[in-house]
């Protein structure tokens, strides 16, 4: 079958047969996708333009269409502004910290010739540990009286604050905990990335007398660029959806200082404000799209 034979309006019967067969074979997935993925996503988008509440469940179409009211209300809601600011703080504190630790550990492990596997498992362990179990331990570490951290600070004469009960230290404490809990995944990815750094270049630079830092800065880092981009994107998305740590450690307190946008959305769904909650989650979705877009622009390989 030649391409030239295809005129507008005339469909090659073989091609059509193939297309039909293709759709039939793909239909199980297409149906599942439409019903369980696209359907709910579109329904929730539609919901964000209505004043739907949990009490409307029996008559989901008997709700008022309110246009962009939910979005306007959200932008004006002081609590939503606060949680947005908190989420941005999580993002700008959390991403560099997590990536920094992961990169440092990966580089360190890459230089090890023995017991690398042991350390890799050790550092990865927090990722697979239940957040509930972890939170109990961290609460003890961060406790005001008799906490591990404050006891350690006490030895050097510093009187540590009640980390989780102060509006200034609660959020950074959670960021540190989240970084500790999540850097393992990135570390594994970075370790794999480090294997791809061309040895010849490093050795050549060594022969030319480049210092360790210069080799890292001008050879390793550029070679890692795609891996770093990937890491930044998934970590950024993770921190924008920050929830678990705050949920188990502080319940969003004190005074909402650790409440994130996801937490806010969770609360609103709990209160039964379905329309409002859907609008909040679409704003977050938009923020994630924008962030990812800018990260791609910033870190993509320059030609």
């Amino acid at each position: 079958m030649s391409r030239q034979a295809r005129q507008p309006g005339i469909v090659d019967p073989t091609r059509r047969g193939q297309a039909v067969a293709g759709w039939i074979l793909a239909s199980p997935f297409v149906v599942l996708f439409l019903v369980f993925t696209a359907g709910p996503v579109l329904a929730s988008l539609g919901m964000s333009f209505t004043d739907m509440r949990s009490t409307d469940m029996r008559t989901p179409f008997a709700v008022q269409f309110v246009g962009l009211d939910n979005y306007v209300d959200l932008v004006q809601d002081p609590l939503f502004r606060k949680v947005t600011l908190n989420t941005l703080l999580y993002l700008v504190l959390g991403v560099p910290l997590t990536m920094g630790i992961a990169l440092a550990v990966a580089v360190g492990l890459n230089g090890l010739s023995r017991s690398r596997g042991f350390f890799r498992v050790g550092f990865y362990l927090p990722v697979v540990t239940s957040i509930v179990a972890v939170s109990v331990v961290w609460k003890y570490i961060l406790r005001d009286e008799g906490g591990l951290l404050n006891a350690a600070l006490g030895w050097v004469g510093i009187d540590g604050p009640a980390w989780l009960d102060s509006t200034t230290t609660a959020l950074p404490s959670l960021v540190v905990m989240a970084a500790w809990r999540n850097f393992g995944t990135l570390m594994v990815i970075f370790l794999a990335g480090l294997q791809t750094v061309p040895r010849e270049q490093v050795e050549a630079a060594e022969v030319d007398g480049a210092s360790g830092w210069s080799r890292f800065r001008f050879i390793t880092l550029p070679a890692l660029r795609p891996v770093l981009l990937f890491g930044a994107v998934i970590t950024g998305i993770g921190y924008l959806q920050f929830f678990e740590e705050a949920f188990v450690m502080t319940k969003g307190g004190p005074l909402d200082s650790t409440r994130s946008v996801t937490f806010f959305t969770f609360d609103q769904f709990g209160y039964g404000n379905y329309g409002y909650a859907a609008a909040a989650s679409y704003l977050l979705f938009l923020a994630i799209v924008l962030l990812t877009f800018f990260q791609f622009r910033l870190l993509r390989t320059k030609d």
Binding site: R53, R58, V63, D144, D165, G272
Partner: protein, 427 residues
């Protein structure tokens, strides 16, 4: 027109059609509905599907044998539902119209489920309202119509260490706000407790410890009809100032406690007293205290006598989509009989909502239980409106701000009022 345009136009038409079909009708939902018609006499028949949560769900299955013996044509099928998933499960069932016939409903959910149109109004003459503790009955009424029957109740009382109180010179529990303050101070200075009276400094559920003080002061949350919030009142503000003074004076810990901390702290004398519900008798005894080491007492009134406490618990409701409503209500009626309520207490330990069940047996003789019984006579429940959880969360947040000294009582209750007003009752 190419294909994409056609698809887009089609979608837009469908969407606009869907939206034109939208719009609320004014008569939807609860409020102003008549009570259901009285059920007929005679025995229950057919299958009655029942959902119950927690211990109730586990024990009810065997407990209903007596009902089945008395109603040979009826079968009761009990499904145990975990509390964590119960709210979602019930709301899904209501949305789909495929629920059980009867379910246990947490008192604070009544407003939401009744407003959603999922629950049937209680039939006329099924039970007598006067048989119940008034605060418990209040929890079934949404917009003036009752949508169920209280099953079991719980209320909050003062727990204190008897030995420490004695050391501090108190042989009886305090009976006024001034006394309570002095009591807490003495427990610290003379009794050796680190904190005299532990109260919750904000965070989830702190409204349950603050509102009893406000109710004791005579405050109300809504007007008589339950249509307008009346939170901004001098009584509310005064009660909040009194509540937060415990944090200012160092009588209560200013941070939220970790699970288990209260019980172990009470046992080792860190906390001289606290306010909580009946489940704490078991917990403090597990923590190593003997029944002779501690005592419970009704909440003190403002100037004298007994204060007003919070009443919670569970209600029984019949679903609008029940296939067997007559028999379902008969089952509810049976569970409300004083003897059955008493038996259920013996079996599960739930405090009966029917007052007559307290007149004999262990409930009338045990000194601790008698205190709970007394307090239940003077206890209130929050307004049964669908938006209550959200209003409560705002109160929690403002109690926290006031406890930290960021807001005066007066400003805090003003803010509670304006939050509650903008949230609305949802009816």
């Amino acid at each position: 027109m190419n294909r994409t345009t056609i698809t887009l136009v089609g979608l837009a038409t469908a969407a606009s059609l869907a939206f034109t079909a939208c719009g609320r009708s004014d008569d939807a939902g609860a409020g102003g509905e008549e009570q259901g018609e009285a059920i007929t006499d005679g025995k229950a028949t057919g299958t009655i599907e029942v959902w119950a949560m927690g211990t109730e769900g586990e024990k009810l299955g065997d407990f209903v044998e007596d009902f089945e013996d008395a109603n040979p044509d009826a079968t009761v099928k009990v499904t145990a539902v975990p509390w964590e998933s119960a709210h979602d499960k019930i709301s899904t069932a209501i949305a789909a119209g495929e629920g059980p016939d009867v379910s246990l409903i947490g008192t604070t959910w009544m407003g939401e489920f009744a407003e959603a149109g999922g629950l049937m109004p209680t039939p006329e003459g099924l039970v007598d309202e006067a048989d119940y503790f008034p605060g418990a009955w209040q929890s079934t009424e949404v917009g003036g119509t009752s949508y169920g029957v209280p099953w079991y109740v719980e209320t909050r009382v003062l727990f204190y260490r008897k030995d420490l109180a004695k050391k501090a010179g108190w042989s009886d529990a305090p009976t006024s706000w001034d006394d309570l303050k002095q009591f807490a101070k003495d427990l610290e200075s003379k009794g050796g407790a680190k904190y005299g009276l532990n109260l919750q400094p904000g965070q989830t559920g702190s409204w349950q410890s603050y509102l009893p003080f406000a109710w004791t002061d005579g405050a109300t949350l809504t007007n008589e009809e339950g249509t307008e919030y009346t939170i901004d009142s001098p009584e509310m503000a005064q009660a909040l100032d009194y509540y937060t003074s415990y944090f200012d004076d160092g009588l209560s810990m200013t941070r939220t406690l970790d699970p288990g901390e209260l019980e172990s702290g009470f046992a080792d004398g860190t906390f001289g007293s606290f306010i909580s519900g009946p489940w704490h008798t078991g917990l403090v005894e597990e923590a190593g205290l003997d029944e002779s080491d501690y005592a419970v007492a009704p909440l003190p009134g403002k100037d004298e006598g007994m204060g007003t406490s919070f009443v919670g618990g569970g209600d029984l409701a019949v679903f609008q989509d029940s296939d067997n409503p007559e028999s379902a209500w008969k089952f509810v009626q049976w569970l409300s009989e004083p003897e059955v309520q008493q038996d259920f207490y013996d079996e599960v330990g739930d405090l009966p909502a029917v007052q007559a069940a307290w007149e004999s047996g262990e409930l009338s003789t045990d000194p601790q239980l008698k205190i709970f019984g007394e307090q239940l006579g003077q206890a209130q429940s929050p307004p049964a409106v669908p938006t209550w959880e959200q209003v409560a969360a705002s109160i929690d947040g403002l109690v926290e701000q006031a406890s930290r000294g960021d807001l005066s009582g007066e400003d805090a209750v003003k803010q509670m009022q304006s939050d509650a007003q903008s949230i609305g009752t949802g009816l």
